[in-house]
Amino acid sequence: MEIMGLPLIYYGAMILKVLLAFVFVLLTVAYATYAERKIIGHMQVRVGPNRVGPMGLLQPIADGIKLFFKEEIIPSEASKFAFLLAPLVALIPAFISFAVIPFGDVIEIAGYKIPLQIAAFADNAGTVFDLNIGVLYILAMASLGVYGIVLAGWSSNSKYSLLGGLRSSAQMISYELAAGLAIVCVFMVSQSLSLHAIVADQAGLFGWYLFRNPFTFLAGIIFFICSLAEINRTPFDLPEAETELVSGFCTEYSSMKYAMFFMAEYANMVTVCAVTTTLFLGGWQGPLPSVLNFIAKVYFLMFVCMWIRATYPRYRYDQLMKLGWKVFLPSTLFLIVGNAIWITLFK
């Protein structure tokens, strides 16, 4: 059976892939909050949440219910439209980046080849056609995430929110640049912008772009650090530095709207880890079945994020800007030149 020239299974697979990716991200977000508290707890010789359910495993659900039933407060002087829009604008870009990330190899169902990547399809020979500017799509979505925070900061009509929003947007713009330039090193090796082609090119441990040459190694590390800064994770979580700014851009938010910012933060963390996995750690390539490889790598990187949070203190604002503009930006430019020389010499 066909609809508009395409077999029905094509549509079914598409809907299923979207649902799977969405549920995966949501579940990961819910349990990342639990894992973070538990891991940091153990690192600081505490127990972490252990009251709700066995080993505290139902804690995220309890938190969700609590936030859901809290009173919703909209400040009377707030600019209402932007105030309501902001949490959505923060949350959506974090989720839709997953449309282009390949989370598994091509699988075969009833004679049809289906690539485990949402915005992609395969012909009967198994050749995958995906969005051929996947990396740029991710950069575009990342650059939209800043609006949620800026709008939240501005519309709340509160000094703390405004300062938090301003800080955050300045930080995101600064680090986006260095992150984008670090990705250029990947383009130079892969010679393609399609994420499927990038993953297919990274077979074997030494095929990973992280281990391709010394320049891509450094680029990978810089990309990960810049991404942490872009999503406001510790040690770059200045926009919500509670000792200076109460709670930053989400000071005036309560109930589900606050929860949406919270979810956006963790969803961004999942996205950043997935992008780093795809670009530098070989995506789904590895010894296990393809999807499991991908999940294992993403979870490892998320553990690293939490580890960093438990270890490092927060940067001061001027140090943060200095690091972005005076260290990362010049060094990524240097890496691009170095990478070009390396590729030409050792073809």
Binding site: M4, S79, F81, A82, L85, L131, N132, I133, L136, Y137, L139, A140, S143, L144, V146, Y147, V150, L151, G153, W154, S155, L162, G165, L166, S169, A170, I173, E176, L193
Partner: protein, 167 residues
Amino acid sequence: METLFFSIVAAIAILMSILVIRCKNPINSALSLIMTFFCLATLYVMLEAPFMAAIQVIVYAGAIMVLIVFVIMLLNIRTESGRRTQHALFLGAATGLFLLFQTWYFLSRSSLTGAKGAIDSAAIAKVGHTELIGQSLFTEFLLPFEITSILLLAAIVGAVVLAKKKV
């Protein structure tokens, strides 16, 4: 199907661009402008130019508009101050009508030849849209490309000189 989709996107684009000039609150104007850019990006995708679409979102919606929103926030303009004068309305209408007349005049005088360039859908499908842009940018249009980059460099140096108090 495609025509229907185009009509919806184009209608949203026009509606949003009207909102850009009609909103009293500058932030809402900026938001409408972002939506307009988004609709344009969608149209680029429909024209088989995904690279242009991505650049449209990254550069216009992602970078330039962030700076505009940033400035509005820093100045903390709440609503538009000052009233609209009759003179401005008259001048605006006159300019608009003149532009409309100009467009009509040139469109009615020229004729469409129907001649097509070297790059068509088949070439895009074979080589790839991004690759084609890269090729023509670094071969045919190398000089304009380099001149643009020198201009941008000059602008950056100028910005640094202006921003720095003591040189």
